[in-house]
């Protein structure tokens, strides 16, 4: 498992709807905003790249120092973004695919308004379990 990893789901309107620090490293106080900054800036790259490929998994698209941003874009242009410091493309791909399934299940919930924050604790535990499994 990566020592630093920050997973985030960004809605079509660039609003973060889910975020989780899934790294094993001790959480630093200023890391949260730094991770947000990096992921936020990486959206610029995603915006360019998303339309150049038909694949959903865009691989590592941006980096900042030793942190790499991997992105998975769903058909609805929701972006699953992972900031990580390990190189494990296959694991990340499986992680994204499984989280995508979970996200679809969330979308199927008639009480969930697409684009709103995902507050389901079940989703949270599942995502963290997947992160432990694949990253």
């Amino acid at each position: 498992m990566a020592s630093t990893a920050c997973f985030m789901i960004v809605s079509r309107n660039d609003i973060p709807i889910y975020e989780a620090e899934v790294g094993t490293a001790l959480k630093k106080e200023d890391a949260a905003h730094q991770h947000q900054f990096i992921l936020h800036a990486a959206l610029d790259i995603v915006q360019d790249l998303a339309w150049t490929t038909s694949a959903m998994f865009l691989k590592a698209i941006d980096r900042f120092n030793d942190l790499v941003v991997s992105v998975y874009v769903t058909a609805g242009h929701t972006r699953l973004m992972l900031l990580h410091d390990s190189r494990n493309d296959d694991g990340i791909k499986s992680f994204f695919q499984e989280v995508h399934e979970l996200y679809i299940k969330i979308l199927l919930n008639p009480l969930y308004l697409p684009g709103s924050r995902i507050t389901s604790s079940h989703f949270d535990t599942k995502v963290r379990a997947l992160a432990r499994k694949y990253l």
């Binding site: 973060p16 947000q36 959206l43 610029d44």
Partner: protein, 1195 residues
């Protein structure tokens, strides 16, 4: 004036001008950056590893005023004054020299100058010497449009009045000299040198043979230690020569030549591992490629190569790397590759914070210029650079970059980003002392729910510190701490509706209104007639807006929520209100003139109305201090009490956070629909009207409560309570009416009951006068009570009135009481008010009483009553006191003495008990009008169930019991049709008196259980009873026996019944009725086996004869009905008739005389028949009751 380097400067300015023109596009200030790049270039020039900056020519200038100009010229190029690079062999010291004599015309034209020039020409050669005359202006007042040195020397201060003696000719002359120098001397010199060098290089390096030799020669040098930094290559070495050749070619724009030589050189240097030189050559190759504008890839790869090589060298190569990177960036920018340029900038930024801050800022601008603009990257890099600026205490630069970033991050939902930017920018502004802006930014981060507790504390602490440093009270509209929960906003005011308790407020308005309906006058009736002296028609205005009374508080409930995990304290929470005197159109009276002077002082801006009640004479505000724990929500009740008439408007709420900053909230600005307690207003009304109140003159207001109302009672508990009404004002109120929502639970008592205890008022008195005439209340209907006219309440004296409470059914009961009263003073706008009281009572189950009634088989009009009593409580035990049947129709008595069936006297918790009673119709007169259900004349018969005979029985016809019984009857009514054959019971019990305090609650509690409408009617309306002898003695030897019987028939229906009695001597075999008689199938005849052991003692000989006769029974009936086999009678309603019957018995035995049928048919009159047909049967057939007759042979 030493090493001139005219051409290198030319080139540099060429590229730089591109840079400038690009950067000028930026609206951001870049002066600092340009300046720093230029000084960087200056600093890294003249290095030993490249020949680009090496001097080509030297211009030696001496003034004509000098004493010995010739020597001075020689002196100037003295070796010990030359730069070290020239001396230690890195540069070629034999460079082109040019001698210039400058003459100042202000000193006058002298021959001396020409002489010196002649001497110079003779000494240095005539070609290389010149004379320049300057300052030929006479007055020295030539104004130049601009400083002529501006393009070349920016650091000259503009205040110095430079060149004021230069006239236009002088400037031309200077230009001429310089042009002459470059075109006639320098360029030819360089061309010459290129030719020479090119020949040399071709001779030594070009050609296959030379290359082999060179390669072999370099291989041989591999063993020598790498000393690339040492002076391995002097100017005379072939590599330096090639470099000079290439550089000269580059300067003269022969890029092909330059490139081929650079290539040659780079392989050499690479083989020699002379990295710095290699990098320098690569850098130049990149530039050459760029200038040729071909092979972009090559240009970039060369630049990258050079950059990386410089970086590999570590700190000494840093500056060169930077320069190289900047060239590279400029190349990319020229090709509009901003994104790549930004990444190069990012690579340039190294360890040193200020340096990288500048580079990152540049990178961010590149992201801004890229197409499409990458704003998020722009913001991110600005923030990164701002952080670095802050690290080297460049606060202003940091703020500048953050403000740039803010334009991107404004309103972002990325919470951490927003918090970071706002918090830091706020902190830095505070550092600079700009507290206003600082606070504005800090306010943004206060409600940071997502942050950790520590961060929240940090934010709040820093914010409060900043606020304290300002030393001022800040007033902030929409302060985010705490969060105001607008949906919880609730305004409670009392117009004609007043509330006794807070629970009454929360009751829905519709409940109150439905209760109030029949006691309050409708609006139209308020107008009364047109003759009224003061036509106080309520203006439309009053109806539409809210009315409140001066001196009575308007309560506003506002929820404050602390979103943070840390606790915060807010103080001085109060409402912001605005009071204005009435305008003329609203009140037709002249009263407006008296209040007009208040108008000005009350018209204050909402924001300035922060001053509290001290000065605001027209209203009083309450203040509340709250401390909110993390995540806590507190509803604060704030009040405003208007003091004078006029218009009062609630504008908002204000509070002080942590004693240092004042927050405001304006209700009006919020468009959220608010739930307001009083639902009278229409939804279409705007919010502002909901918070606007018309204040009217103060009115009396009743306060009321019920004394000693218990929270929890057991079912059936009957107790007396007191309603206390109080009117604090001196003006009295009159015409008081009261309405109770649940008369089954709560009933009004008589005044004299007030002083009596429970048993006392219920005990049977021998002579009891119904004192209804004297009572001061009138019951208008079941639930409305009208106090007599002379009941006036005023001056704060309490007015007590008894109220009976009886817990009728278990459950949670909400009791609503409305008291209506009118003002004594009729000149007020409001004629009446209502007081609304609300109480919740929890009723627990106590005794379950059930009755079952079955007709007594042996007696006409008598019934057996089976009463089951179960104690459902967990701990209480009850003493069953008495059972009363209501009405004088029925007499009730115990079947067995009470001591026998109920020895313990107390019914313990969970215990069940059955009682049996005999019920007898005691009514003598048979009248039909008795079946009206009137509550008042209740007279009953009672059975004492208690052991102590000294206890008085309670009179169930007395007021509370009778009243409650009436409501129970109404409630328990099953069908709309009243049936006379119904009986009601009241069971009165008392809880067990505890031995410890016998005096206290002995007289308080009484339980009454009412059970109503028990039907005693049979399925058929016809009753009959056979009457006659049971045992006969007859001498059968003489004759057969004739026995007379009587049948009593009663028609209990309200219609005429036609009855036919048909007797038959043998029971018809196929008749379905035969089953009902329970005759054993073997005995088809009239008599049959009776188990003799059961009831009748029969002698043995009788048994013998009977058995003997039993064989006869098959052929002959043992008895026959004599007389007509069918009798038909007509029976009036509710009447009884007696019919004689006769049988003949031929032998002794026991006979069952049930072989007859009774056919009845009700003859309704037309309307009755239609009405009752569906409910009751109109005809039927009954088989006879068993009647056993024993006939014995007499002796």
């Amino acid at each position: 004036m030493q090493g001139s380097k005219i051409f290198p400067t030319c080139f540099q300015t060429h590229l730089k001008s591109k840079l400038y023109s690009l950067l000028l596009h930026l609206k951001f200030c870049h002066h600092g950056f340009n300046f720093s790049t230029r000084s960087l270039h200056r600093q890294v020039s003249f290095s030993d590893h490249e020949a680009f900056d090496h001097p080509v020519a030297c211009l030696l200038v001496v003034s004509s005023k000098d004493e010995d100009p010739i020597n001075k010229f020689v002196d100037l190029f003295n070796t010990n004054q030359l730069p070290s690079l020239l001396n230690d062999g890195a540069m070629d010291p034999k460079i082109l020299k040019h001698y210039l004599l400058v003459h100042d015309n202000q000193d006058g034209m002298s021959e001396n100058t020409t002489k010196i020039l002649a001497a110079m020409r003779s000494t240095f050669g005539s070609n290389d010497c010149r004379l320049l005359c300057i300052n030929s202006s006479e007055d020295g007042l030539v104004e130049h449009q601009e400083n002529p040195w501006v393009p070349h020397k920016t650091d000259a201060s503009p205040s110095q009045h430079l060149g004021c003696f230069l006239n236009i000719d002088d400037l031309d002359e200077i230009k001429n000299v310089m042009q002459d120098l470059s075109s006639k001397h320098i360029i030819p010199h360089m061309e010459q040198k290129i030719r020479v060098l090119n020949q040399q290089v071709s001779a030594t390096r070009k050609g296959f043979r030379n290359q082999i030799k060179n390669l072999w020669w370099r291989k041989g040098k591999d063993d020598t230690p790498d000393n690339s930094n040492g002076l391995m290559y002097t100017f005379s070495s072939i590599e330096s020569q090639i470099r000079v050749l290439a550089d000269y070619a580059f300067m003269l724009r022969d890029y092909e030549l330059a490139l081929s030589n650079y290539r040659l050189l780079s392989t050499d240097y690479k083989l020699d591992k002379a990295w710095k030189r290699y990098a320098g050559v690569q850098e130049m190759m990149g530039l050459t490629y760029f200038m040729m504008d071909q092979l972009r890839k090559d240009a970039e790869s060369c630049m990258e190569n050079a950059f990386n090589t410089y970086l590999k060298m570590g700190p000494p190569g840093q500056q060169n790397a930077t320069r190289c990177g900047l060239w590279w960036v400029e190349m990319l920018k020229t090709r509009y590759q901003y994104k790549e340029a930004a990444s190069v900038y990012f690579r340039i930024s190294g360890e040193e914070p200020l340096h990288s801050a500048v580079m990152l800022e540049q990178a961010s601008y590149c992201y801004l210029f890229s197409k499409p603009p990458m704003l998020r990257k722009y913001g991110f890099h600005l923030v990164l650079s701002g952080d670095l600026y802050k690290k080297c205490d460049q606060i202003k630069h940091a703020i500048r970059t953050y403000r740039g970033a803010l334009s991107v991050f404004k309103g972002t939902t990325w919470s951490h980003i927003k918090d970071h930017v706002h918090f830091h920018i706020g902190k830095w502004y505070a550092f600079l002392g700009m507290f206003d802006v600082a606070i504005k930014h800090m306010l943004e981060v206060l409600a940071c729910i997502h942050q950790s507790k520590m961060t929240q504390e940090l934010f709040l602490r820093d914010f409060l510190q900043v606020v304290q440093k300002t030393g001022k009270m800040f007033e902030v509209l929409r302060l985010q701490l705490p969060v105001i929960d607008i949906p919880s906003l609730k305004v409670v005011f009392e117009d004609h509706r007043t509330y006794a308790s807070p629970t009454a407020i929360s009751v829905r308005e519709s409940i109150w209104r439905s209760l109030e309906e029949d006691i309050t006058p409708s609006w139209s009736t308020v107008k009364t007639n047109w003759l009224e002296s003061q036509p106080r028609l309520l203006s439309k205005k009053y109806k539409e807006s809210n009315v409140c009374v001066a001196g009575e508080a308007i309560k506003v409930d506002i929820g404050f929520k602390n979103p943070l995990q840390i606790s915060i304290s807010i103080s001085n929470v109060s409402l912001i209100c605005e009071h204005s005197a009435k305008s003329d159109e609203m009140v037709p009276d002249a009263s407006s003139t008296t209040t007009a002077h208040l108008n000005d002082e009350e018209k204050r801006k909402p924001t300035t109305s922060g001053e509290l009640s001290s000065d605001a004479s027209s209203f009083t505000l309450s203040e509340v201090d709250i401390s909110l724990e993390g995540g806590e929500k507190v509803v604060a009740q704030l009040t405003v009490t208007p003091r004078v008439e006029g218009m009062l408007k609630i504008i908002g709420v204000r509070w002080k956070l942590s004693g240092s900053i004042i927050g405001f909230y304006n209700f009006e600005s919020d468009l959220v629909k608010k739930k307001v307690a009083n639902g009278r207003r229409k939804t279409k009304q705007p919010m502002s009207d909901n918070l606007k109140f018309i204040v009217i003159k103060s009115l009396p207001k009743l306060e009321g409560f019920i004394q000693q109302l218990p929270k929890t009672v057991y079912t059936g508990d009957l107790r007396r309570l007191a309603l206390e009404l109080r009117n604090p004002s001196e003006t009295s109120v009159r015409n008081i009416k009261m309405k109770i929502s649940h008369p089954r639970f709560l009933n009004i008592g008589n005044e004299e009951v007030m002083d009596m205890g429970i048993p006392a008022c219920l005990e049977k008195k021998a002579k009891f006068v119904q004192s209804d005439a004297h009572t001061r209340i009138n019951k208008v209907s079941d639930t409305v009570f009208l106090y007599s006219e002379d009941t006036l309440i005023h001056g704060g004296t309490p007015f007590l009135w008894p109220i009976w409470l009886r817990a009728a059914v278990p459950g949670n009961i909400s009791l609503y009481i409305i008291i209506y009263y009118e003002m004594e003073d009729i000149s007020t706008v409001m004629r009446y008010r209502t007081l609304r009281m609300h109480y919740n009572v929890e009723v627990l189950p106590s005794l379950d009483v059930s009755f079952q009634i079955s007709p007594c088989p042996s007696r006409l009009q008598e019934f057996l009553v089976w009463m089951d009593v179960v104690n459902r409580t967990h701990s209480e035990s009850f003493q069953v006191h008495q059972l009363s049947s209501v009405g004088n129709e029925w007499k009730i008595s115990l079947l067995q003495p009470i001591e026998a069936i109920f020895p313990s006297e107390f019914l313990m918790a969970g215990q069940a008990l059955s009682f049996f009673f005999k019920l007898k119709n005691g009514r003598k007169s048979v009248t039909t009008e008795d079946n009206v259900s009137s509550p008042a004349p209740l007279e009953g018969t009672d059975v004492r169930l208690g052991h102590g005979s000294n206890e008085e029985l309670f009179d169930i016809s007395r007021s509370p019991l009778a009243d409650f019984h009436h409501f129970e009857r109404v409630h328990q009514r099953m069908s709309d049709q009243e049936h006379p054959h119904k009986v009601d019971f009241i069971l009165i019990s008392r809880p067990r008196r505890s031995d410890s305090d016998p005096g206290l609650n002995s007289s308080v509690n009484l339980f009454s259980h009412h059970a109503c409408h028990f039907s005693i009617a049979n399925a058929s309306p016809i009753w009959w009873l056979m009457d006659g002898p049971r045992i006969m003695h007859h001498n059968f030897t003489a004759s057969f026996c004739e026995i007379r019987l009587r049948m009593t028939i009663r028609n209990s229906s309200d219609a005429i019944a036609s009855i036919r009695i048909s007797t038959f001597d043998s029971i018809p075999g196929g008749s379905p009725l035969s089953d009902a008689t329970s005759v054993p199938p073997g005995n088809q005849a009239g008599w049959h086996d009776i188990s003799l052991l059961n009831d009748i003692k029969v002698t043995s000989e009788v048994l013998g004869t009977r058995v003997g006769k039993s064989q006869l029974a098959e052929c002959a009936s043992p008895f026959i009905w004599s007389g007509s086999s069918s009798t038909r009678v007509k029976l009036e309603p509710m009447s009884t008739i007696e019919l004689p019957l006769q049988i003949c018995v031929f032998s002794p035995g026991t006979y069952d005389l049930s072989n007859y049928n009774l056919h009845w048919n009700l003859l309704f009159s037309d309307d009755e028949g239609n009405r009752g047909a569906g409910i009751r049967e109109s005809s039927g057939t009954c088989t006879g009751h068993p009647y056993n007759l024993t006939v014995l042979q007499s002796a």
